[in-house]
Amino acid sequence: MKYPYSGNNYYIMRRKISIFILFLAGFGFVFAQNDTSKIVLKKPMLNGHSFCSFNTTNSAFIKTYLDATMGIGSTGLIELPGIPIGDNEILAFKGKVAFMNVQVKYQQKFNDWLALYATMSIGGRLGTSISTILVDGVNTYNGGSIGWLFRVVKKQKFQMTGNLFVKNLGGNFINLIGYINDIIDDVPNPEVVKYVPVLNAGIGVQGSYAFNETFGLQFSTDISYGESFNRGESDVFSSFSLVGDMDLMPRHQIPVGFGLGYTITSNPETTYLNFIYTNIFSAKFAYTGSSDFEIGLQFTLNTVEVSSSLDKNPMLFKTQLGLRFYF
């Protein structure tokens, strides 16, 4: 059968993906081989409760897993003022701003109290019409983080871990109006496209508490120091997140989990240019019928600062599909 890919590329790609999956499975097996005498609970559980994963809240569990999250969202209709020239105002537009993000995370458990994780992420925001692209520009970031997760407390109902991480991001900002403003203001060497690298190092704490087999609570907090997307400026960034979740599987045999969360963060990949805090409200529905994987839809609502000339920041509604495979 011929596939619409050139030559043998399809087969080479399929073979590469198979080798990658086998590698991950083998890697997990090698590290977990001393646990074969025990019943291996792949999904994170405490007190009989299986926790729902949220991409806004770091997991407190030392497990080997691969996680992928894809999200897309949009603000409501916003009106942006233009540039005043004399008594007139030019380039004033109406439009929406769209957001997208993709994140892949792999965490490898080394022993019962230590894991190493790495994430790769890409995200961006852009106007959904030519007018808002002109005014707001196109902002994207890409990069990743790498860190250690180590156990601090483990009890029957409660587990807490700490983490130590380094985050490396690169932001690309295309802003035509900013470029015109720079020319008007006689800024030396104005640029339409600005690339800003960001490096942060930080620590965090995350915990999980299981009230019973149905209800659980998770929290995570981190603090980091480093560069911001404002070139040359460094600051302290922090975030705190709290999630309550319920799993209907143990008592009602319905493989559905549900969670509600709240996050406050100043991390640059969420807030983009400014040193501000953003409040994020989350809800998630997940399939909880498997001990090996979790799949779910997470909905988030938060305010975003699009332009300093707006009186009120618009709300962003985002839908994210999350997949997590435990090895």
Binding site: F31, L116, I146, V166, Y195, P197
Partner: protein, 215 residues
Amino acid sequence: MRIKYILVVVLLALFFRGNAQLNVGAFGGINMSKLKGDKPKNASYTSSLGMEFGLLLDLKLSDHVIMSLQPSYAQKGSKISFTVSNVDEPVDSLRIGLEYIEIPILFKIDANNKRFYALGGLEAGFPVRAWAEYINQPGEKEDISSIVSKINVVMHFGVGYRIPLGKTILSIEGRYLQGLNNVIGQENPNYPYIPRVKTGGFKFLVSYEIPLFGQ
């Protein structure tokens, strides 16, 4: 004076004999480093291959934790490629070389099977040589050590695998490194091709260890 040193060595030897395991060894390998950070206009950084070798001193702190001191010499650097009109691929134009004496303090954490281990820690690197070379003019190296910071702090993340060879151990390691401070802090009009940058990259090392004290 010499007697004092001998006494200290004997005391340390007795301490390690009674309480801990000490391995000494040597290691070597390659490092694929590149600069990360601000870029000159129409430029990108690509990896540069360098060698690394050093000595190691592994002190076992507990059943799963080893503290490792690994003084070494390392060649780092990067190529700077520029986008040229009418040419599809970026053209390698400049090679930056940074040679360091590095003193990392790492922690190795054993997996349950004691063969695999994770490692992490911090390193202080002291530059011994820094140069820039135009690729189409090989041999003409420009000394840039005056603009390179006196210390480079680097964070290590890695994994390794031990192969016992009788009483000695051969280890294979892969590490990811991320520089935490700028190698070149500010843009310099004399060297416009290197703005605010940090080091980063991967290391692949092989080490050979001999147990000195302990089990």
